[in-house]
């Protein structure tokens, strides 16, 4: 049990140290965890994503809490959640102390300029992988394409996409069109 707690802590601390680019940047790491350990499946990860988009708080915290809780209850949730924010605490404390130096240094500037596209790349890769592993069928792909095209015209609230796709899923499900 202690070994599991340590492993949980190490995995989520790792996310806190290496995820650049905000809440969604944690997803590639969680995807990696889903494949390596049997804490949760990729399918559960998608469900977790849906849940964390409609609950308060940063997605990364939601994910850590959920993963920790489904692995080993409230204590697991507390461990995973503390582990994911502890690096933030350390980094921000250090950086706010050397703030002046930080911004003008050419190495730091270049590393930051390189980390942002890397974060974007990691997220793109997860999107593509999910596209192939989720059981979407042609009908799901058509809905996805419609959403993306619609977003060019007008930006909707995240809740809109989730709400509409939930209703579509329920309707198609009862019409026996999605084969689950």
């Amino acid at each position: 049990m202690i070994r599991l707690y340590l492993l949980l802590f190490a995995q989520f601390f790792n996310i806190g140290v290496f995820s650049f680019g905000g809440g969604y940047a944690t997803i590639p790491f969680l995807y990696d965890i889903a494949q390596k350990y049997n804490w949760f499946t990729v399918k559960q990860l998608t469900d977790m994503l849906a849940i964390s988009s409609i609950t308060p708080g940063p997605v990364g915290v939601n994910m850590a809490t959920f993963a920790g809780f489904s692995t080993s209850g409230i204590l697991g949730a507390a461990i995973a959640t503390s582990a994911i924010v502890l690096p933030s605490f350390i980094f921000v404390t250090i950086v706010s102390k050397i703030l002046d130096k930080f911004e003008s240094n050419i190495y730091v500037k270049n590393i930051v300029a390189s980390l942002k596209p890397a974060g974007c790349a990691l997220l793109s890769a997860v999107g593509i992988k999910l596209l192939f592993t989720s059981n979407l069928h042609l009908i799901g792909l058509i809905i996805l394409a419609t959403f993306v095209i619609a977003s060019f015209k007008k930006k909707f609230d995240p809740l809109f996409y989730l709400g509409v796709s939930a209703i579509i899923g329920i309707s198609l499900g009862y019409l026996n069109l999605i084969g689950i």
């Binding site: 140290v17 290496f18 995820s19 650049f20 905000g22 809440g23 969604y24 944690t26 790491f29 990696d32 998608t46 469900d47 994503l49 849906a50 849940i51 609950t55 308060p56 940063p58 997605v59 990364g60 915290v61 809490t65 809780f69 489904s70 409230i74 949730a77 959640t81 924010v85 690096p87 933030s88 605490f89 980094f91 921000v92 706010s96 590393i111 300029a113 390189s114 980390l115 942002k116 890397a118 974007c120 790349a121 990691l122 997220l123 793109s124 890769a125 997860v126 999107g127 799901g140 959403f147 977003s151 609230d157 995240p158 809740l159 509409v164 796709s165 939930a166 899923g169 499900g173 999605i178």
Partner: protein
Amino acid sequence: MDKTFFSVFKTFFKIGLLLLGGGYVILPLLQSELVDKKKWITSDELVQYYAISTSLPGIIAANTAIFTGRKLLKTKGAIAALLGVILPAFIAIILLASIFNEIVRYNFVKYMFWGVGIGVITLLFLAVAEMWKKCIVDKFSVAVYTSCVLLALLTDMSPAIIVIFAVVLGIVHAVFFNKKQEQKYD
């Protein structure tokens, strides 16, 4: 309102409750609570904290909360702000997770999650599009993006290794960039 551990915690708890759809809305929320209503910090300070927070690893909303909390009450403020902003998220998930395993067995819920899965992938691609605008700005960023995407798709490399790879690319670029500038002045 005085700046005490409890008042900072309460303010950030309120912000945490309103953080729907990810941490991206933390900036406007902090602006309205801390700058406009309480006048604890200035708008300039807030934007600077946010910019640095986005380039640090970790959850941006947590980074920003810690930065702002530090400014208000040093380490005590940082702890109060961090606890405040993550506690609503923590409680909400614990409450939902306890019923989650039971409710996913129903057909209704299965169908709903199948549909929501599409919505989630849509949000992922929209987040990529949003990040793309801010991150892909020159030839260097295109090169970093392309190499990282290929590594992530074609190999089993862990994301952490890919991030370290990007750091190395940044350093190499900095060295190269420095040389070019020196040559200019020769």
